[in-house]
């Protein structure tokens, strides 16, 4: 396995969706390839940092306003009857 093969499998590797054999090959590659080891770790960190970032949370006052706007349009109609 070379670095380019490793990168192609990186997404499945990080998601834990590879079969055991391919996973072992990737693990082995990581043992000796420092560049792929760093790319793998920093990509993992990239995902974690975005997952935990809470960008674009919906403020509670806006949330209430949007919900009442939605519900007022739904209220007098049955589903499928909104013009």
């Amino acid at each position: 396995m070379n670095c380019s093969d490793f990168l192609k499998e990186l997404t499945d590797y990080l998601d834990g969706t590879l079969d055991a054999r391919t996973r072992e090959e990737l693990d082995e590659h990581l043992q000796w390839c420092h560049n792929c080891f760093v790319i793998c770790n920093t990509t993992k960190k990239t995902i974690e940092i975005y997952r935990d970032s809470e960008l674009y949370e919906l403020p509670e006052d806006l949330r209430t306003r949007l919900r009442s706007a939605i519900m007022s349009k739904c209220h007098d109609k049955k589903p499928g009857e909104i013009a």
Partner: protein
């Protein structure tokens, strides 16, 4: 109760709400709105990069869902179906504002020149601690906004919202290889761009 039972129970609760809403129970639909409005807003804002557009997307997506509830086949999760509607609304608004350059719709897992790692450097053990919370948000926002929308959308659904590859493919009307290919390129491009902020410095300074 184990995790799978819990998920199954949530899904059946959701289906109960969907059926009640279909039968005309508006308060059941309101519960669905409460359940998913934050997710829809986040997805919409990530795609449109505009607060007003995101607000409009939330309203229009839920109204469209209500309007089309009868057509919801119950073969997929309600949430996946809702995300599909929301993504379409968001992309429509984005295109209206900024016609986008085309990105190749590769079905093969290709890395592409644009995503090949150029700089390889380890990051400090806790990159989050290098910056204040406000600075970090600014960095993360600016960085993800620089991605093409087709990559950004896949990344947000898979890695921020936690949809599976299959659900993301269904929500975006893409093949599974296309989702995987875009996700890989999105992850690698974000990594590359964050590198300049988070890499370890020899002198130990920012």
């Amino acid at each position: 109760m184990d995790a799978i039972e819990k998920v199954n129970e949530q899904l059946s609760d959701e289906m109960t709400l969907v059926r009640a809403a279909k039968a005309g129970d508006v308060s059941a639909f309101e519960q669905l709105v409460r359940q998913y409005d934050r997710n829809v807003f986040r997805i919409a804002q990530h795609i449109t990069q505009n607060r007003e557009d995101a607000e409009d997307v939330v309203q229009d997506a839920f109204l469209k869902a209500y309007e089309n509830l009868k057509n919801f086949q119950e073969q997929s999760k309600f949430y996946t179906w809702l995300v599909r509607i929301a993504v379409n609304e968001a992309l429509m608004r984005l295109r209206r504002r900024r016609p986008e350059r085309m990105v190749s719709l590769d079905e093969e897992i290709q890395i592409g020149e644009d995503s090949m790692p150029r700089e390889v450097a380890d990051w400090t053990p806790n990159p989050e601690q290098l910056y204040s919370q406000a600075e970090l948000r600014e960095i993360l926002t600016r960085t993800i906004q620089g991605l093409p929308s087709s990559f950004r959308t896949v990344f947000v659904l898979r890695d921020v919202e936690g949809l599976s590859t299959e659900e993301t493919a269904e929500a975006l009307g893409l093949s599974i290889p296309a989702v995987k290919s875009r996700l890989l390129r999105a992850r690698l491009q974000l990594r590359e761009r964050l590198n300049k902020y988070f890499k370890k410095r020899k002198d130990g300074k920012k």
